[in-house]
C-alpha cells in the first residue's frame, strides 16, 4: 500500500465519469496542458491503457473509453508530471489584419490606442489549451491577466470565418461562420479547419501559435 505517501496533497484529482471515463482535475490551465502532454507521451510510448479520447480543457483532462477507469485513477495520482516545456516545435504563425469590429472597445478596455492592440497581441506567444465549440476552434492561452476582456454582452448572430476574437483569458479564431460572443479584433485568411486536409485542424491542443500583423 502507499500509506507513506501522505506528505503532500495530490496534484491531481481523478473524478468518475460513468463506467468508462475519468475526469482528471488539476490546479489550472498550465497543469492541464502539462498533464495532457504527459498523457500523449505515455500513449505514444505504449504505457497508457487503451483509451478512445483524451480531451484537455480549462483545468481538466478527460479520458474516455477506458476499460478500468478506477485502476488508472489509483495510478495517476502518483504520477510525476513534468511542467510544460517552454519550447517545442515551431509555432504556427497566423497573419492577421487587425481591423475587427470590437477593436476600439478592446483598445479602450486595455487602455491603449487602437493600433497598439495589434502590436501587443502579435507580440505574445499563445498555446492551444483545448478545443471545443466547433471543429477546429482552439482556446489559446497566453494573454496576460491585465489583457483579459469580457465577452460581448450580446453575442453576434454571425461571426465570419477567420475572425480573431478575445474572451476572458483566451484568444480564438472562428474556423467557420457561426454565432459568437467574443470581442473581435481582426481577421486571418488562414484555413483553421479543412476536412480534406490532413490534419483537418490547423490548431490542436498543445500547438504553439503566434499572430503576425498583415497589411
Amino acid at each position: 500500500m502507499t500509506a507513506h505517501r501522505t506528505d503532500a496533497p495530490s496534484p491531481c484529482r481523478p473524478l468518475r465519469v460513468g463506467p468508462h471515463a475519468l475526469l482528471v482535475e488539476v490546479a489550472g490551465t498550465e497543469e492541464a496542458q502539462a498533464l495532457h502532454a504527459e498523457l500523449l507521451r505515455r500513449r505514444a510510448a505504449g504505457t497508457l491503457p487503451p483509451v478512445t479520447e483524451i480531451v484537455p480543457a480549462a483545468r481538466t483532462v478527460l479520458l474516455d473509453g477506458l476499460a478500468d477507469p478506477q485502476a488508472l485513477a489509483a495510478d495517476i495520482v502518483h504520477w510525476d508530471v513534468p511542467p510544460l516545456a517552454a519550447v517545442g516545435s515551431e509555432p504556427v504563425v497566423l497573419p492577421v489584419r487587425y481591423d475587427g469590429a470590437d477593436l476600439a472597445e478592446v483598445a479602450a478596455l486595455w487602455g491603449v490606442a487602437e493600433d497598439e492592440v495589434a502590436r501587443l497581441h502579435s507580440g505574445l506567444e499563445f498555446r492551444v489549451a483545448f478545443c471545443g465549440f466547433a471543429p477546429g476552434f482552439g482556446y489559446l492561452t497566453g494573454l496576460p491577466e491585465h489583457l483579459h476582456v469580457p465577452r460581448r454582452a450580446t453575442p453576434r448572430t454571425s461571426v465570419p470565418a477567420g475572425a480573431v476574437g478575445l474572451a476572458g483569458p483566451y484568444t480564438g479564431v472562428y474556423p467557420r461562420s457561426s454565432p459568437g460572443g467574443w470581442q473581435l479584433i481582426g481577421r486571418t485568411d488562414a484555413v483553421l479547419w479543412d476536412v480534406a486536409r490532413e490534419p483537418a485542424a490547423l490548431l490542436a491542443p498543445g500547438t504553439r501559435v503566434r499572430f503576425e500583423v498583415s497589411t
Binding site: L15, R16, V17, G18, P19, H20, A21, L23, T52, E53, I54, V55, P56, A57, A58, R59, T60, V61, L62, D64, G65, F130, C131, G132, F133, A134, P135, G136, F137, Y139, R176, V195, A200, A201, A204, P205
Partner: protein, 314 residues
C-alpha cells in the same frame, strides 16, 4: 473540376432520377429521395477519437437497431444507413436492392404494397420504398445491401447536426450512392423488438463527476421522478421538463470534456442527457452519466414520456 460524384459519373446523368422516370440507371446503384420526412440523416457508427479537436462521435442514435438493419441485409455493422425521425422517408432505387427497416416499428411499402418490417426485403429497380410513420418510438433505420456510399469525413459517413460534419440531411430529389453488396443476406435468427417503455423510461445514472455541485435535496429530486421528455429533444440531447435541480455550488464551472450519456444540468435546473451529437466540451456541471447501453431507449423516447433517473453511486 467537373464536379463528378464519387462513383465517377457526371452530374448530368442524374436527370434520370428525377420526375417519374423509373428506368434503372447504368453505373453504380443509387437512391433518389422522394420524401425526406421530418429529419432523415445518414448515420454509421460515428467518428470517435476526435473529441480533442471539438469533433463529437455522432453516429446512429439507436446503435442496436442500426446494426440489426445492416445484419439483415448482409452488411457489416459499420455500413451507413438512413436514420429517420417520426415519419420515415421514401426513396426510389436505380437498381434492385435488398433493404431492411428496423428501430421504431412502422409500416413499410414497396410501390404501395405492404412488406415486412424487421426483415430483408427485395426492392426492384425503380420502385419506391416508403418507410412510414413510427407506430411507437421515433427513429427507424433503413439499411441497403452495400450501404450508403457517400464520401466519409474523418472516417465516418455520419451527419453531425451540431458540428455540421458529414452529408447534409438529404432533401427531396437528393441522390445518394450505394456501395457494392458484400454478399448474400444471411438474415438473423431473432429480431429483437423492444416495446415502448412501460410506465416510464428508467435510466440508471452513475453519479459524478460534478454531483457535488448539487444539494442533497437536488439528488433526491433527481431520484424522485417527475421528469418528462421535452419536445425540444434532438440528436444533441434528450431534454427534460419537470422539477429543477438545486445547485450547492454557485458560479461558473470552467469548460471540461463531456462523454456520451452525460446528464448536464444547465442554469434552469432541468437535466439534459447528451446524445451522439453532443458538444465535446461544456461548461455546465454533469451530475451523472447514463451508461451507453441505455441510450438506445433514450433515442426512441417520444416527447411526454415520463423519465425516472436511478442514481447509482460509484
Amino acid at each position: 473540376m467537373t464536379g463528378t460524384g464519387t462513383d465517377g459519373r457526371t452530374p448530368g446523368t442524374d436527370s434520370r432520377l428525377s420526375g417519374t422516370d423509373n428506368r434503372p440507371a447504368g453505373g453504380a446503384p443509387a437512391l433518389a429521395v422522394v420524401r425526406p420526412g421530418a429529419l432523415t440523416t445518414v448515420q454509421d457508427l460515428g467518428r470517435p477519437g476526435h473529441a480533442h479537436l471539438g469533433v463529437g462521435r455522432s453516429g446512429a442514435l439507436d446503435p442496436p437497431a442500426h446494426a440489426l438493419a445492416n445484419r439483415l441485409v448482409g452488411n457489416p455493422a459499420g455500413h451507413a444507413t438512413l436514420e429517420t425521425t417520426v415519419d420515415g422517408c421514401a426513396v426510389r432505387t436505380t437498381a434492385a436492392v435488398t433493404v431492411a427497416v428496423t428501430g421504431a416499428p412502422c409500416p413499410v411499402r414497396v410501390d404501395g404494397r405492404p412488406v415486412a418490417w424487421g426483415a430483408a426485403v427485395r426492392v426492384p429497380a425503380g420502385a419506391v420504398l416508403d418507410v412510414g410513420r413510427a407506430s411507437w418510438g421515433l427513429r427507424s433505420y433503413v439499411a441497403f445491401a452495400g450501404g450508403l456510399a457517400v464520401p466519409p469525413v474523418l472516417g465516418s459517413r455520419s451527419r453531425d447536426l451540431l458540428s455540421g460534419l458529414g452529408p447534409e440531411p438529404p432533401a427531396a430529389g437528393a441522390r445518394l450512392p450505394l456501395g457494392a453488396p458484400c454478399g448474400p443476406s444471411t438474415g438473423a435468427d431473432a429480431v429483437p423488438w423492444p416495446g415502448p417503455p412501460v410506465g416510464a423510461l428508467v435510466l440508471p445514472v452513475v453519479l459524478g463527476p460534478r454531483d457535488d455541485w448539487f444539494t442533497p435535496a437536488a439528488l433526491r429530486t433527481l431520484a424522485g421522478g417527475g421528469f418528462r421528455v421535452a419536445a425540444a429533444s434532438n440528436r444533441i440531447g434528450l431534454r427534460t421538463e419537470g422539477p429543477a435541480l438545486e445547485r450547492a455550488a454557485q458560479g461558473e464551472l470552467p469548460s471540461e470534456g463531456m462523454v456520451l450519456g452525460s446528464v448536464q444540468v444547465p442554469p434552469d435546473g432541468r437535466p439534459v442527457v447528451f446524445l451522439a451529437d453532443h458538444p465535446t466540451t461544456g461548461g455546465y456541471p454533469v451530475v451523472g452519466v447514463v451508461p451507453e447501453a441505455e441510450l438506445a431507449a433514450v433515442a426512441q423516447a417520444v416527447p411526454g414520456t415520463p423519465v425516472r433517473f436511478v442514481p447509482v453511486r460509484g
